[in-house]
């Protein structure tokens, strides 16, 4: 009996350690994958990112000093709850005159174009949101949880900052954190 209890404790400890390690890995992934991303359909979004109308782009194609990539889902309650905050983040970037330096786009694992459009329309999201219906990008990103934000240097693909989960300290604090990497 004692042995069974101990093995359960040991198992739980190992799993928790591995779980922690896996999330640390997801958050500490050094480079953003240099994989193809579907070009957003709308010309205004292509212009915003500074990419052409080709089928795909890579992170290095985005014309900015820093790219914030939001991994989200229309089905994710936290993503729904924080959508207005993320819109505020986009607005603050503009208000602070950083719209050429910091660009944002979203990737939606398991969401079709239609599902992404429901989220965009509901929250009036102005920045590009890109569907990932077959979880291709989700796998590239180590099946990270939603929502996750990556701040990426498009010049070398380095992930400079990452954040998973709710913005407990507020969106202003988050913007200050990423601005430190400019």
């Amino acid at each position: 009996m004692k042995r069974g209890v101990w093995s359960t404790f040991v198992s739980l400890f190992i799993c928790m350690a591995m779980l922690g390690a896996s999330h640390a890995w997801a958050e500490e992934m050094d480079n953003f994958p240099e994989e193809n991303i579907q070009v957003p359909e709308e010309a205004v979004h292509q212009d915003y990112l500074g990419i052409s109308g080709d089928e795909n782009f890579v992170i290095g194609d985005v014309q900015a000093d820093l790219v914030l990539v939001q991994v989200f889902s229309m089905y994710c309650p936290i993503c729904q709850r924080e959508a207005p905050d993320v819109n505020d983040l986009y607005d603050m970037i503009h208000e602070q005159g950083l719209e050429e330096s910091i660009k944002i786009f979203g990737i939606a694992p398991g969401n079709s174009s239609f599902e992404v459009s429901v989220y965009r329309d509901r929250y009036e999201v102005e920045f590009p949101l890109i569907p990932d219906p077959d979880f291709v990008w989700h796998k590239h990103l180590g099946e990270v949880g939603t929502p996750t934000f990556y701040a990426v240097n498009p010049g070398n693909g380095r992930i400079l900052h990452s954040h998973t989960g709710p913005f407990h300290d507020g969106i202003e604090a988050y913007l200050e954190e990423v601005k430190a990497h400019l």
């Binding site: 042995r3 069974g4 101990w6 093995s7 359960t8 040991v10 198992s11 739980l12 190992i14 799993c15 591995m18 779980l19 997801a26 889902s73 229309m74 089905y75 994710c76 309650p77 936290i78 729904q80 709850r81 694992p109 398991g110 079709s112 239609f114 599902e115 429901v118 989220y119 509901r122 989700h138 180590g142 099946e143 990270v144 949880g145 939603t146 929502p147 998973t164 989960g165 709710p166």
Partner: protein
């Protein structure tokens, strides 16, 4: 030896763990990849929907027939509370409610879990605008009548849309490991008489 088996079992469960929303961590049980469909549906479009009465999480009892002549009904069966795909399906309907309202359709969410489990799960998901019913006892009786009770006592990830006359207009069993695409459901509702 038994201890080693326990450790291996826990590790196997860990390795099957996909990326979940942080809010889910620690409360979601992931069964891993499952047999996509494990039953044979007994109803089809054009059939009269079998009536049923089940307890709802709100404390009341809800019958399918109470919507007759009033609302179309989308029966959304999901396999189990506190599992990954299910926890990531119904919250999406919270921001898609206008599609259901526009098509005069109510959702009845159904699982074979008991009410207390459903209650906690719905709270963890941040609440839902539609009723959730428990097909716990007699276990899976309604799911069985519709031919969507799996061998392990859970329901399939099935969607059945019943019109105001009580006729089934759409019946779909999705791979249990995936969500039914929202556009498919909207298209089905828009075709309702």
């Amino acid at each position: 030896m038994k201890g080693i088996k326990t450790i291996i079992l826990f590790l196997a469960l860990f390795l099957a763990y996909p990326g979940l929303s942080p809010a889910d961590e620690g409360s979601i049980y992931d069964p891993g990849e499952l047999k996509p469909i494990d039953s044979e549906i007994k109803v089809e479009e054009g059939d009269e929907a079998v009536d049923f009465t089940l307890p709802a999480v709100g404390g009341e009892e809800i019958s399918l027939s109470q919507y007759r002549g009033e609302k179309n009904v989308m029966l959304s069966f999901v396999p189990a509370a506190w599992t990954p795909v299910c926890s990531d399906q119904w919250p999406g309907y919270n921001i898609a409610r206008h599609f259901f309202d526009d098509n005069d359709t109510i959702i009845l969410g159904i699982t074979t879990d008991n009410v207390p489990s459903q209650y906690s799960w719905i709270r963890a998901m941040g609440g839902l605008w539609f009723p959730v019913l428990s097909d716990f006892w007699p276990h899976g009786e309604v799911a069985e009548k519709y031919g969507i009770l799996r061998g392990d006592g859970t329901a399939e990830r099935a969607t059945i849309i019943v019109d105001k006359e009580g006729i089934i207009r759409f019946a779909h069993v999705e791979d249990i490991n995936r969500r039914p695409p929202l556009e498919m459901l909207v298209e089905a509702m828009e075709k309702l008489p």
